[in-house]
Amino acid sequence: MSIDILIPLLAATVQSGTPILYATLGEIFTERSGILNLGVEGIMITGALVGFLVAKVTGNPWIAFCAAGLAGASAASLHGFVCLVFQGNQVVSGLALTILGVGFANYLGTSYVGQSAPGFSRLPIPFLSEVPFFGAIFFNQDVLVYITFVIPVVMWLFLYNTRFGLNVRAAGEYPAAATAAGLNVVACRWLGVLAGGFLMGLGGAYLSLAYTHLWTNNLTAGRGWIAVALVIFAFWRPGRAVFGAYLFGGIMAMQLRLQASGTPIPSSLLLMLPYVLTITVLVFSSWRRGKTDEPAALGTNIAPAD
């Protein structure tokens, strides 16, 4: 493969991996606090639509991007209410949130299908984008991609080097121990749910504001589910999530290019690739179970104090 095919392919890999990366990091953060949120798909598409609409109305993509994060956090707060206030079943609540979010976005979005909104465009970083090979792949992107270079580092610092991160992890590992240490576990989990939802919303907004610049229904197309699987692949570690997201981004970018090149492989088979990879990745990850940082209390509710 010659270098002038490879570089654009890898640059596209980073771009299509970015929304998944946002969502995966969000889900990692939420799950670290002990809450399993299967509503990623619904939260992402809510963020995508809100971002798109706000950009259309205000014309300012930054306001739109932040609004999408807030929309994601509010959608996630529904899940928080069910699980943290009413001790509802986390799996069912998450699934319901996905169905609700997708339905909501398609219902409100149908009239905007095909319309465009102002978004983010390429912003090469001076000097860094000149670096041979890597510059063109990583530093000739839009600013939202650059943000994802920082988030995993910040999240790692937060989780492992601050007392708040310690509290959040304790809430996910063994809530009784956190309570015995005088912590408010419910508050720690709310933080996990809301901050995670915020990131998922941003991931959705990346799709409508930077990836496509226009609205189509089902814009997320299962990326939220891939993020859920990637959390397992990433062993719940922010750093590994970057690898996973780019792996999927690569597959998606490649199958698009293959389709465009008129390969004899049927397109429906190519479209299946990311999901085949999802299953493969999950099988691979469960082989190495025990080395993961899976929170021990993931998916369990906290019984209210009597």
């Binding site: 590992e173 063994y174 009784a176």
Partner: protein, 494 residues
């Protein structure tokens, strides 16, 4: 006792429904002294301490802290007053390091520096003579080390009243010695210590004052120096003479029911033993020396990798593939609440868990018939409360164990594997269990796995000592020379 008490409980009462858990309790806790709270299971020790720890509030009565009345409305309030509890089930995050657990909820700075945390924790540990690596993961520690972390947590938050809820139940004898050494150091540092236990020897060796709790009431408080013997304590605790010796008559061993030949896997090395109907073979050893894999192999929970197991004359594979009602093997697991019973089911359903085959007619399960049988057993085994619809979690440890035994013996097993059958039970309940096992021996061969030497000596016809996955030695209970050497064998010195 001298000086003012750091904590004074006055006329504390607490009821749950009709049950009077604590009634009119007055008790003082002094700095620099160890108060042992002695009582049977269900005597109200845990209820009393949970009120001190702020987990529940008394119905009536007052708690005084340094002379002034306080209300511990939450655990945080109790923590602020300097009360720290070492729970029986550790409240530690397994996936975190020792230092992280100690600092959890206690750090006042935003940034946590691993090196600084490690230094603080190891300095604190050294101060009280504990040796622990601050950056070790909790999951990699032994029970004794985990308990040290629990203690470090309390010391770090400057608790000066430390409550230990049956701390030695999970420890090896050596670890228990270390714990007592730490307790003495804390005592010397002026901390008040409450030690909840029903192990009399331990109470005698560590306590300065002893309070005996019986059916929710204090029946005696005395300085330990006034107590002459453990027998005296035991008598005051259960209110009747305890026969710590059960009547053990040798039976004629009959047909072989279990034969293990050179069983070997990653945790076992050439384990061989045999067991006949009419005898109890006691496997003694410190927990974690291969007892678990041995039990799991014998009970069909894990396939033997190398070596043979013959049960009731049948090869392992054949026995577990065509196990029928009359060839019964009974497993009485250590984990009564998890493996043996379903906590949310009532006694009848729990009874049917392993006996259902004897009642089934076609696809139907005649519950009335089963209920009648179960009611008989409840009376025969004196299980309380004597109600079929009581849920398993509502029973005390001793009654739950009796329920499990009654169920297993009902099946008329010919091979019984009993794992730590009296762990956590009070003396009266333990004695009942011992007598039941001795009775069952007439019909079956019993493999008894225990960490309690006195239990093994009281019950076993033969004793096998396990260490590091090997059977060190197997000998008769009457072989006094070998019996004297058991502690050395358990420690791997023989």
């Amino acid at each position: 006792m001298s000086g003012t008490a750091v904590i004074r409980l006055e006329s504390i009462s607490k009821s749950f429904g009709d049950v009077r858990a604590n009634h009119d309790i007055t008790l003082e806790i002094h700095a620099g002294r160890v108060l042992a709270l002695l009582g049977e299971n269900g005597a109200g020790k845990s209820t009393l301490m949970s009120m001190l720890a702020g987990q529940s509030r008394p119905d009536s009565g007052t708690i005084y802290h340094n002379g002034s009345p306080v209300v511990f409305s939450s655990t945080e309030k109790a923590i602020e007053a300097g009360i720290g509890m070492v729970y029986q089930h550790f409240k530690l995050v397994e996936a975190m390091t020792v230092a992280e657990n100690v600092f959890l909820g206690q750090s006042d700075t935003t940034w946590l520096k691993a090196s600084r945390m490690a230094k603080v924790v190891s300095d604190l540990a050294a101060l009280y003579g504990m040796r622990i690596a601050p950056d070790a993961l909790i999951a990699h520690l032994s029970m004794g080390e985990k308990q040290q972390v629990e203690i470090l947590k309390l010391l770090f938050r400057k608790s000066n009243i430390l409550i230990f809820d049956e701390p030695t139940a999970v420890l090896t004898p050596h670890e228990a010695e270390n714990l007592f050494a730490t307790m003495r150091q804390m005592k010397a540092a002026g901390k008040a210590i409450v030690f909840i236990s029903h192990k009399l020897e331990e109470v005698m060796s560590i306590a300065d004052d002893i309070a005996i709790l019986k059916r929710g009431q204090i029946v005696g408080v005395m300085p330990a120096s006034q107590v002459t013997s453990t027998a005296e304590l035991a008598e005051r605790m259960v209110g009747r003479e305890v026969l710590l010796q059960v009547d053990h008559q040798p039976l004629e061993p009959r047909q072989q029911v279990l034969r293990v030949e050179k069983l070997q896997d990653e945790k076992l090395h050439e384990v061989s033993l045999d067991l006949r109907q009419g005898e109890i073979l006691g496997i003694v050893g410190v927990a974690g020396n291969g007892q678990k894999p041995l039990v799991e192999a014998v009970c069909g929970l894990r396939q033997p990798v190398k070596g043979n197991i013959t049960l009731l004359g049948m090869a392992w594979k054949r026995f577990f593939s065509q196990r029928s009602g009359d060839l019964t093997l009974s497993y009485i697991p250590e984990d009564r609440q998890g493996l043996a019973t379903c906590q949310g089911l009532d006694l009848l359903d729990n009874f049917l868990l392993t006996t259902r085959d004897t009642f089934c007619s076609g696809p139907w399960l005649p519950r009335t018939e089963a209920a009648e049988k179960a009611r008989h057993l409840i009376t025969e085994f004196d299980i309380r409360p004597p109600k079929l619809n009581a849920l398993a979690w509502q029973l005390s440890g001793g009654n739950l164990q009796k329920m499990v035994l009654s169920r297993e013996f009902y099946r008329k097993p010919r091979l019984i594997v009993a794992e730590q059958p009296t762990q956590g039970l009070d003396i009266a309940a333990a004695e009942d269990v011992w007598n039941l096992l001795l009775k069952a021996r007439e019909q079956a061969g019993i493999l008894l796995i225990t960490g309690d030497l006195s239990e093994a000596l009281a019950l076993s016809d033969r004793i096998a000592v396990m260490f590091a996955g090997r059977i060190v030695e197997t000998f008769s209970r009457n072989d006094t020379e070998m019996v004297d050497r058991i502690p050395q064998m358990m420690a791997g010195l023989a």
